[in-house]
Symmetry: C3
Subunit: 386 residues, 3 copies
């Protein structure tokens, strides 16, 4: 029994090394560099994107990691398991996405892959938020493998088959990760795992540690939403829109937190989480020509919905649906992710983007939520067998 | 009463959305991109500046936020209200600066505006340090609106009318923010608000949280001082000068902290704050051809003055002038900001810059300090009415 | 007595200012900019490297600083003295490296120097980890001056005379810093300094603070290993290899931590430190054409060796060799640094690089470890005289 986790971790690392040995090589397109051309070379592009990659990297490891330190008893587990899951997930994400996108050739590893690999891990880390305190490392390990496979499949379907647009991944990462995690949490709840409730308390210090996560996520979200956008106009727009959506979201989240909290005080859980909903919700539209004020409207709505979700939906989910969502990922990633998908439909109706149609975007949203729920339900019981 | 804060916050966000809808649009100058030119395009410039922007962003939200966690009872307020104030301030800053600089045309939102928007918020966050523990969120909200309007006015006067040089904003942000905050703190003191003293204690953990703020501010200060400098020589110089000024400042701050502290020990407040004075003081001269050793002299002086300020001036201000400066912003931003202005006068006398004259720089310093004090005095009482 | 530290610090800062006044000037090569050429100008290169510099800067001040907060009584000392040592060390590093490399001309200060200056300080900060809790600020000050001189000498020997390759400085920084620190710790131990053991405990919060250091080091290590690599292919490879080596290392470190810990639990010390060994070990080979899977093998081995070192070697060193290694730098920097040197020999044998020969690499490794041990032994007693 006590050797299961180390042996599985070692076995998976050996498997990753074999897979990389067989299927991966360095990206070589910068060999084509023409000295007399004014085009940006691949190597220059590497340097344009590298800072954005590092911002995303900080979000994954510091942002998600410390956001989960708010529980006094699970702080170290939160940030530690977060590191483990992400380190495994990024290797596996490269392989899964690479196989789907490389059409039988070797996977060319450059800056784009490692950004996408970080993205892959985000789905599992979001789901982790729903099951924090209810799972063992070995269960997380299995969930990482299964969820990233499901994510890569859905992302290929949405992006390549449907040709939907989802630059900041509101649907394919945030909604997907949240509903996957909720489905798993629902399964775990039924299995009688009602532990963790007694330890579900925060302290003053654990809340401050969590704010490290919140603030770094908030700061670097423009990089998350723009990292894989088209260079130029679209990428710059993705940065600007996300910046303003997040700022607007903070104001409405603070306002509604005060409105729904006893005595008009601010609720720390809202501040830690709902202030980020604007980044999620603007994701799908981030590179569209929606104007900054539209981004601010999207962010404002997300802040309101997220606070109301924490206040009313989360207790209801636990009591009625028997889904216990430890970090409230439904309010931070689930609902705002759905808002993101719906916002893209509105934007297309308003003529702000010709990249996709309303039907395609609706299909993408449905596919992301549906695949996540089915995937989560199928993953849940498999974790009991260990 | 309890609905004042949420309603004001929501009302302001609606106002911002309307203002952005009327007056703001994406920057479009990169449409002019000529494929056969070797000039750096706007989009490339966006990518050169984006990492500097993100460094400044970290300073505003992590740096200022966590620097204010040193009080055991106000840690969460510090970092939370900091986020709220900055999120409001950056939207308002875009509008105020945009209206003054865009000469009746629409505000073109690109990387430069969002850097400047972050800068606008810095003034309020500095002032917040002087009144931490003495104000409610609603008071901070009013101060944000009034102070940023005053800041934008003074910055336009100093930069556009006087044509003074202040690349790192020692005068227009640091001295301005500090003296504005001190004036407000003076007004609040007179009103009989003597609360907060009992809670004015730090713990071992709260001091460590504050060091997160200190270190991130210290690290990214070269980006703060160089972000809006002329590309090339001047921008690179701003980075190098700030780097060395800060390094020198650490040595003198540690030395004087040990000199003036009982038993030769180090005082945590000095380490948290005075080590940063070098970044403030070198600001105005940062892009001038002053040589690294001059930057180190400026930093060394700032470190000494800042520690002496904490030791002797702050208690004196509280006792004699009835100004209670919670975080000691006078020592970290006020005095070093004035040093920055004076250093630029010396540098011009020594022939290190031809961008400005000694009279213009003196006028800029006087205007910044004067506007701040008058603005702070006028803002102070208005906050009592709520 | 109580004036020794402040006077020495002030005296050193004055000396630095004089040395910079005599020997340093801004880099001026960007004056040569040709408007009609497609070559990357120095100023553009500055901007390509500046984000990497800032990543390294975060590692030095946040990473190393907070990694040393794990002891409940030395948290503030750890991060505070780290700041002081690094601020002194970077000034001194510029001078020492500049004198050796500038061949009698003035030291041209640009982005490369300040990256290298940060690197210089890393050696002392690594050594600091071995003696944390056993030294006074004044002893650290002396060690900084002596160790950086020894480091610059060895680095010149290895890089310029031997022409060895060590892009991520596994040998010249990590192994050097670790063995220097161990030698000093050994000397201090013999002198009867057995204090610090009672306070050698961590708390839940201090362990979380240390994780801030761990995670930021982990995230930005690709920048550390690539910052001074050749632009293009080699630099990109250094990033990719380090990314995968670190990911693999996390899996084996977690696995072996669970294997060697009572009850299959995870040991916090292992998670905080051994997860980083992959970044150290891949350093020397980082820019070579070794393929990602080889980087993962190197990282996997480093994670295993590092955990085993913490479990078995550190107690043995304390008991048998009377070397008390507070942070276990031998396991995080010493052994993985040696692995890095050995890996480069294997890579050259396998034909992955023609930049160096096996004999040269072996000489570089021997020189780094040897110089460090001799330097540390000579430095140790000098610190007793104060």
């Amino acid at each position: 029994m006590r050797f299961s986790f180390p042996l599985m971790a070692l076995g998976l690392e050996v498997a990753m090394i074999v897979l990389f040995g067989l299927f991966a090589e360095y990206e070589t397109s910068w060999y084509d560099y023409q000295p007399n051309t004014t085009q940006i070379t691949e190597s220059e592009r590497f340097f344009q994107l590298y800072p954005l990659f590092q911002d995303v990297h900080v979000m994954i490891f510091v942002g998600f990691g410390f956001l989960m330190t708010f529980l006094k008893k699970y702080g170290f587990s939160g940030v530690g398991i977060n590191l483990f899951v992400a380190a495994l997930g990024l290797q596996w994400g490269i392989i899964m996405q690479g196989i789907l996108h490389s059409h039988g050739e070797k996977i060319q590893i450059g800056i784009k892959n490692i950004i996408n690999a970080d993205f892959s891990t985000a789905t599992v880390l979001i789901s982790f938020g729903a099951v924090l305190g209810k799972t063992s490392p070995i269960q997380m390990l299995i969930m990482t493998i299964l969820e990233i496979a499901a994510f890569a499949g859905n992302e290929y379907l949405v992006g390549e088959i449907f040709q939907a647009t989802d630059i900041g991944a509101s649907m394919t990462i945030h909604a997907f990760g949240a509903y996957f995690g909720l489905a798993v949490a629902g399964i775990l709840y039924r299995s009688g795992l009602r532990k963790g409730h007694r330890n579900e308390e925060s302290t003053y210090n654990s809340d401050l540690f969590a704010m490290i996560g919140t603030i770094f996520l908030w700061i670097f979200w423009p990089s998350f939403n723009s990292a894989i956008a088209e260079p130029g106009e679209e990428q710059n727009r993705a940065i600007v829109n996300t910046y303003f959506s997040l700022a607007a979201c903070v104001l409405t989240a603070f306002a509604f937190s005060s409105l729904v909290t006893h005595g008009g005080k601010l609720n720390m859980v809202h501040i830690q989480n709902a202030t980020l909903a604007g980044g999620v919700a603007v994701g799908t539209c981030a590179d569209m020509d929606i104007s900054p004020y539209m981004a601010m409207i999207i962010g404002s709505i997300a802040g309101v919905v997220s606070v109301l979700g924490y206040k009313f939906l989360t207790p209801c989910f636990a009591a009625k649906l028997r889904i216990h969502d430890t970090c409230g990922v439904h309010n931070l990633h689930g609902l705002p992710g759905v808002i993101g998908g719906l916002a893209s439909i509105v934007a297309i109706v308003m003529g702000k983007s010709k990249k996709s149609t309303t039907a395609i975007q609706a299909a993408a949203l449905g596919s992301s939520v549906g695949t996540a729920i089915v995937g989560g339900i199928l993953t849940g019981p498999s974790r009991e067998r260990i």
